[in-house]
Amino acid sequence: MARILARVPVRAWAGLLPFFLFAAAFMLLPAGTLLVGSFLDAQGSFSLANIAHLFRPSILRSYLLTIEVSVVTAVGGGVFGFLLAYAVTLGGLPRGVRGFLTTFSGVASNFAGVPLAFAFIATLGRVGLVTVVLKTVFGISIYDGGFNLYSFWGLSFTYMYFQLPLMVLVITPALDGVRREWREACENLGASRLQYWRHVALPILMPSLLAAVILLFGNAFGAYATAYALTGGMLDLIPILIGAQIRGDVLHDPNLGYALALGMVVIMTLSILGSNALQKRSARWLP
């Protein structure tokens, strides 16, 4: 950093001033406000009480729930997204299928929030089309069977709609880097399909896979609109709690909201840092 500064004339840096001013005003300052607020009590003096309150059972449960939804949808979306990407890259399908999947994934990963929640309510809600057809035509009542769209699993199933395509978009380039020669070399040496995947392909792909899954994790962890529109705030996810705190002091502790937000940023930062570190490792093998 110091070296970068030293060799470039000050005038050159001045050209970046508008960008840095904007970033300071609308990213760093708000983040700083939250950071400082997390360590203040209601009277404005230093306190660790907000941070300590994060470990209250109810708050801890919310964090756990948010992490669970993110992990389930990241791993689920990761596995199925990988299989889809595998099908169009190495699976020997016509090229058109791949173009279609890529385009569709671009659309679906952007189709989120309120309209996505509506689509799943119209499909799998209590009077949703699939729910009704299953009941009247096949005699299966999924809601009596324990399914509920407005619950943990319903929300996770809905999140998959943007998680899966994101995985396809992120992992396809890595799968493109898997060379045919590796498989052929393995086959020549007498390895089975399973051995090839277990000892060659998966270890090479693992950093990319983990990085992609971590990206998916962050994607679900920060989601607010979909959860809000689907469950109307019935599930105590951390984003929903923060949203409620903005609308009014539901935690009866204005500064606890800051700490909640800080906790989110810390978890997101750790996940992105982890993802970057892994991506650097995979750069050794894959283009």
Binding site: I4, F26, A31, T103, S109, P115, I242, I246
Partner: protein
């Protein structure tokens, strides 16, 4: 070989089922507003609602302003970095990717608490909403513009233009920007599709935008939300489709990873 292809078809079929069943079901559901017959009643009802037009127009304006503000901020910065301080690229990129670490709900929380008190009480000004949207679309605009700049030889282009006597202004508007048009357009389309139905910032800053309107329709009606969902999907499809068609014909960036959820 054969088994591999069968497995591939199986995964694709399952994927299509998961992706298209909700779309088909939502579409059929949206047609059932009138008892016993399929009709477009839900669409005519929601599209003729003056609130729909008002909120949609509002979000449209916000989207356009966000695109203009975001490009005005990022394009000169990115060009400057490429020409004058290539080593600062990592620094700018870190900033541009910061929104990935700050979820929208946290961003809006910070914005509200920072700007609802002196010295800058602008919490009820649209400036804050647009600034927030610019932050949300930062990563996408930056990536687009950055990969667009890397694809052209900026230094040679600008030096050629200037040795022919062009001013900075002419160089920017008649040489650099036309060469970036695919990148700029794809950034614009992606930003549009993020802003048009955005809920979190709009609802927390209390703006009558399209996202909060959809949420409100969802609370009050049964079939109209499905109609809105279909309309939104078509809109997203249109934007992303246009973007991909453009990058195919103009050779711009293909990355469409994005969206706020």
């Amino acid at each position: 070989m054969k088994r591999r292809r069968i497995a591939a078809w199986l995964w694709i079929t399952l994927g299509c089922l998961y992706f298209f069943l909700p779309l088909a079901a939502t579409f059929l559901f949206s047609l059932r507003a009138k008892k016993g017959v399929l009709s477009l009643a839900a669409y005519t009802h929601v599209l003729s609602d003056p609130q729909f037009l008002r909120t949609f127009t509002f979000s449209l304006e916000m989207a356009v302003l966000t695109i203009l503000a975001g490009l005005a901020l990022i394009v000169p910065t990115a060009i400057w970095v490429h020409l004058k301080i290539p080593r600062a690229r990592t620094l700018i990129e870190t900033f541009a990717l910061l929104p990935f670490v700050i979820p929208p709900i946290v961003l809006v929380f910070g914005l509200i608490r920072t700007y609802s008190r002196p010295p800058l009480p602008i919490v009820s000004s649209p400036v804050l909403l647009i600034a927030g949207y610019v932050v949300l679309s930062f990563p996408y605009i930056f990536r687009s513009v950055d990969s667009g700049l890397r694809a052209i030889n900026l230094r040679i282009l600008t030096e050629a233009a200037q040795s022919l006597g062009a001013s900075w202004w002419t160089t920017l508007f008649r040489v650099v920007l036309p060469n970036l048009r695919a990148a700029l357009l794809s950034a614009a389309f992606l930003t549009f599709s993020i802003v048009i139905g955005e809920l979190t910032l709009a609802v927390m800053l209390a703006w009558p935008a399209f996202g909060p309107y959809m949420a409100q329709v969802g609370r009050n009606f049964a079939y109209e939300p499905a109609a809105l969902s279909v309309v939104s999907f078509l809109l997203t499809w249109g934007m992303i489709g246009l973007m991909q068609a453009l990058s195919r014909s103009l050779g711009g960036p293909r990355s469409v990873v994005g969206g706020t959820h």
